[in-house]
């Protein structure tokens, strides 16, 4: 039986009914939904022990109402892959960006960051910085764009030490689902770290000129209004955002370069504006 079929059987064993549907996601991850049950086969790259800690934390009462709790607090092994089980929820509609729940995302991140660490089981480091480093490492080529991105990444300043808080590690609009309310999903990078990294993607989009400033201000304004602790007193959000936003800009550009290479095409206008932002980063 192949992996997909096995995931379908596991979903059924946990109450999932109806036809199994594959959810489009990263190439190294398989997400299968069967009715009310979602089964996720994690990347072979992921550290299974770290994932175990993360899933257990997601099941803890301290994160109730913030992060989607798993259907079971452990990690299964199927065909050599770590597999987790989750209740299904409705994602943000891709064709309704004008009504995307930016404030809800900001509110959930503010709540997540404010959870006192002693209330959750021990966790590994949040995955944001490592994701950025990995994206840069994975660029195969050595053209001018690749060299620019590597240089921009190497020249990033050392981070100022900040107290580690609970952080999602990989936040974007795909990390929200709605059940009776909006919740954060995906524990793969959940951990302890600088929570400003969770705001860094929208910050990078804004700095690249891609995200409407009004949307950015709604997002960051809601984060501060809900007491989010990642930005100091909030008087100058960019003091804490600058470094993670630079790193994530380079990460997004590196992912774009890899995607374009795989698809055998040039960078499009959106991707090009990320590279231009990296150009400004090395000059700033």
């Amino acid at each position: 039986m192949d992996l997909e079929a096995e995931l379908g059987v596991i979903a059924a064993a946990h109450g999932g009914t109806g036809e199994p549907v594959l959810h489009p996601t990263r190439t190294d991850v398989v997400v299968l939904r069967r009715g009310e049950v979602v089964v996720k086969a994690h990347s072979r790259r992921d550290d299974a022990e770290a994932l175990r800690l993360r899933v257990r934390a997601a099941a803890s009462a301290a994160l109730s109402g913030v992060l989607l709790p798993p259907l079971r607090p452990d990690v299964l092994t199927v065909a050599g892959r770590a597999v987790t089980l989750w209740p299904a929820g409705a994602p943000v509609a891709h064709d309704e960006l004008d009504s995307a729940p930016w404030e809800e995302g900001a509110r959930l991140l503010a709540r997540l960051h404010a959870v006192p660490l002693p209330l959750v089981p021990p966790l590994p480091e949040a995955g944001g910085p490592e994701r950025a480093a990995r994206a840069v490492r994975r660029m195969p080529g050595d053209g001018p764009v690749e060299r620019l991105l590597r240089r921009a990444f190497e020249e990033l300043p050392e981070p100022e030490p900040v107290p580690g808080l609970l952080a999602h590690g990989d936040w974007h609009l795909g990390q929200l689902v709605r059940r009776d309310r909006w919740l954060l999903i995906d524990v793969d990078d959940l951990g302890v770290g600088d929570p400003a990294w969770d705001l860094a993607r929208p910050a990078a989009w804004y700095a690249a000129g891609l995200l409407d400033p009004a949307v950015w201000e709604r997002f960051v304004g809601a984060y501060l209004a809900f007491g989010g602790p990642a930005l100091g007193d909030g008087a100058d959000p960019w003091r804490r955002l600058d470094l993670p936003a630079r790193a994530v800009t380079i990460q997004l550009a590196a992912v774009a370069v890899v995607n374009a290479g795989r698809e055998g095409r040039e960078l499009d206008e959106v991707e090009q504006s990320l590279v231009e932002a990296c150009n400004r980063i090395v000059r700033a």
Binding site: R26, H94, H172, G174, G209, D212, W238, D242
Partner: protein, 84 residues
């Protein structure tokens, strides 16, 4: 008081703390000592009503004026909003 120009009768007005003498005949205006400075100050503070500050951002940020964010339907933008 008589108008120094046409000898008409000057009438005194007070507007926002500024004394103005105006001639009923030729409509000419006379200002007391210091009143011109008061008007200049008021004008300056009127014009200095600040333009909205530019959206704050990092030193390396894109200039945000004049964008129309028309890439909203572009596949790579939507993909990036929703995936790692």
């Amino acid at each position: 008081m008589q108008c120094p120009k046409c000898r008409g009768t000057m009438r005194t007005y007070e507007r926002n703390g500024v004394h103005i003498e105006q001639c009923d005949n030729c409509r000419g205006i006379f200002l007391d000592y210091g009143e011109l400075e008061t008007l200049t100050r008021m004008e300056a503070s009127y014009h200095a009503a600040p333009p909205p500050p530019p959206a704050p951002g990092p030193a390396w940020g894109a200039p945000h004026g004049g964008h129309h964010y028309g890439h909203h339907r572009q596949r790579s933008w939507v993909g990036m909003l929703f995936s790692s």
